[in-house]
């Protein structure tokens, strides 16, 4: 009879605690991924980290001589922000090179939330894929499901046959999701800049939107509600009143935000002129969404490359002028209002009809039929175990998520599981703007800049 201690000792061979294999510092080290000293890196990497990759004319470069590129390393200090830092929105880690309080170089280090979702996507069928997709950008799950469903439908060749009601329902959910995501941005942005009460207000309003999602989809987040072929269920009774209640509640609350934030000199001072990015930089860095629009370019996929029924609703694309953190804040605030405007039109135009395609290949039989018909039971079983087969092909579909262009690239080999599933995550690309936005800024503004990008690390790392 062995004692528990003896058994535990047998299971876990003795590790010499007194002589650790690696030094304590090396445990969190990412070696080459980290910001290294200037002598160790190439000129190109130095340009990139100091936020100056674009080719400039001599005069433009001279005008940008706010940051010295030949500083003595004795005068600078490399510091770490994150991954455990409340203002880094999850597990974003930034390494900054500082001279005094000025940021000279910046390098985002990501991957702390990497869970291999693209690899997982290669083992889940097209039927199950939505459960994986919805968890990537967890603040706009419905948009992620939507882009996956649109891509799958294009591969299936049924993208022209989706019932109108399903399309309008998708738009309704997508716009409400944009509102909930931007409301959360209002909360986190406020918190990051010291308007702590704003955090409570933003979460409060977002929760109202999530309550509606819960009523429609059954879940607050990670809904897996928009599926290839349509949506999972019809809108519940009383949905119209719920949406109207939301639309009645929000304008007043947004007006309060204006008083609390926009109207405050301190708020404006903290944001205006901070984290400036030019239009050519944003295009070169493939920044999309509010970041690109803050530079004055009215690029919105809902308008420019419309999908669903966006060409049948009226809305304005909100653009900024200066490309700073304040513009990005204001754009998101006004986009909530534009989304409300779209939702109002959706309420008027919501057609009746099917909420999913009546194509037996992709649509399971109605629940009631399963009790009556053996064939329906077999059909249901086949679709939920084996899934449906998708023709050979590859497709890239993208939509406008609250953070920018979210794209889905699927390669199908003719089976019911994607051969390759790649997601073009807007946050992953937008985070590249950080060195440019922080160029020559103060370390205290770094938090404002990170916040203004509104990254979701679940999507950055996937």
């Amino acid at each position: 009879m062995t004692t528990l201690d003896e058994r535990a000792a047998a299971d876990n061979p003795v590790v010499e605690r007194s002589t650790p294999v690696v030094s304590a510092g090396a445990i969190t080290s990412e070696g080459g991924q980290e910001l290294r000293s200037r002598s160790e890196i190439s000129q190109k990497a130095l340009m990139r980290e100091s936020g100056s990759v674009l080719r400039l004319s001599e005069s433009a470069a001279a005008a940008l001589a706010d940051v010295a590129n030949d500083v003595d390393e004795d005068q600078t200090m490399i510091i770490n922000m994150g991954p455990q830092h409340p203002s880094t929105h999850g597990v974003l880690r930034l390494m900054l090179e500082l001279q005094g309080e000025t940021v000279l170089r910046c390098k985002p280090i990501i991957g702390y939330l990497h869970t291999g979702m693209e690899k997982t996507g290669e083992t889940l069928s097209f039927m199950q894929g939505g459960t994986n997709m919805t968890r990537m950008d967890y603040l706009s799950p419905l948009n992620n499901e939507l882009v996956f469903s649109l891509a799958t439908e294009k591969l299936l060749g049924i993208d022209g046959d989706i019932p109108e009601r399903a399309q309008w329902m998708r738009m309704l959910l997508s716009e409400l999701n944009r509102m909930s995501s931007h409301l959360l941005f209002m909360a986190t942005n406020g918190m990051d800049l010291g308007a702590v009460s704003m955090m409570l207000y933003g979460w409060r309003e977002r929760e109202q939107v999530l309550r509606f999602f819960q009523k429609v989809t059954g879940l607050r987040m990670n809904h897996n509600f928009i599926r290839p072929g349509g949506v999972a269920a019809d809108l519940p009774a009383g949905w119209r009143d719920d949406v109207l209640a939301l639309l009645d509640m929000l304008p007043e609350r947004l007006a309060e935000y204006e008083v609390l934030m926009t109207g405050q000199p301190i708020w404006r001072e903290r944001l205006q002129g901070v984290g400036v990015i030019t239009q050519s930089e944003a295009i070169a860095l493939a920044a999309t969404g509010p970041i690109l629009r803050s530079t004055g370019l009215a690029w919105d996929l809902r308008k420019d490359l419309p999908y669903l029924m966006y060409n049948e609703v009226e809305f304005d694309v909100v653009v900024g002028l200066h490309g700073d953190a304040y513009d990005r804040y204001a754009i998101r605030l006004y986009e909530i209002r534009e989304s409300m405007r779209i939702v109002r039109q959706i309420l008027d135009k919501m057609p009746s009809g099917n909420f999913r395609i009546q194509n037996k290949k992709v649509t399971p039989p109605p629940r009631g039929r399963i009790d009556e018909s053996m064939e329906a039971l077999i059909h249901h079983f086949k679709i939920f175990t084996e899934g449906f087969k998708v023709p050979v092909g590859e497709v890239y579909v993208s939509i406008e998520s609250p953070r920018g262009e979210v794209g889905c690239y699927i390669v199908s080999d003719g089976s019911s599981v994607p051969y390759r599933l790649h997601v073009r995550a807007p946050s992953f690309v937008n985070v590249q703007c950080l060195p440019h936005m922080m160029r020559g800024g103060l370390v205290a503004d770094a938090v404002a800049v990170i916040s203004s990008i509104d990254p979701v690390l679940g999507e950055v790392d996937r």
Binding site: G31, V392, F428
Partner: protein, 162 residues
């Protein structure tokens, strides 16, 4: 010479193809950078996405005539803001080959090329900082390769008792 003029001409290394209504260019590696540069001057100024596919299990896939299938494919998605158009560039490369980096034309590919390097082990020549981006620096293998199986990998983290 623009890339659109050479439809179907295999010798030039660019084959234009239509995939479910989307414009796809099959480009030979030798003219990869030249094609992307041409497309840039045509207005495709935004490199929205760069990724790769490992076709290890799909060697006999359907490709336009003249395109020789290789194990990996680099897929580049370009966007023209003026013409409101997209184009997808697909390049075949063999295992162990490296690709020229697009960093000098499209700085946005920095993180994307690092991700492809990390996930597929495809190196990019001329990339400013080709290190792993999502996996830990000392990780063995490239997870999105088809011969990298799921679920049987011992946990590889620094400092963990193995």
């Amino acid at each position: 010479m623009t890339s659109t003029e050479v439809t179907g001409d295999v010798s030039s290394g660019v084959t234009v193809h239509d995939s479910l209504g989307q414009r796809v260019l099959f480009v030979d590696k030798s003219v990869y950078v030249a094609t992307i540069t041409n497309l840039y001057t045509e207005g495709f100024t935004m490199c929205i996405d760069l990724t790769a596919v490992d076709y290890l299990a799909l060697e006999n896939r359907l490709l336009p005539a003249g395109v020789v299938a290789q194990r990996f494919e680099i897929v580049v998605n370009l966007l023209s803001l003026v013409q409101r158009e997209r184009v997808r560039v697909r390049v075949q490369i063999a295992d162990g080959e490296s690709m020229p980096s697009l960093f000098d034309i499209h700085p946005s590919t920095e993180a994307m090329e690092r991700e492809v390097f990390d996930m597929f082990g495809v190196a990019f020549d001329g990339h400013p900082d080709l290190t792993r981006i999502l996996m830990p620096e000392d990780w063995d293998g490239h997870p999105l390769r088809k011969d990298y199986s799921t679920g049987r990998i011992p946990v590889q983290f620094k400092g963990a008792a193995s």
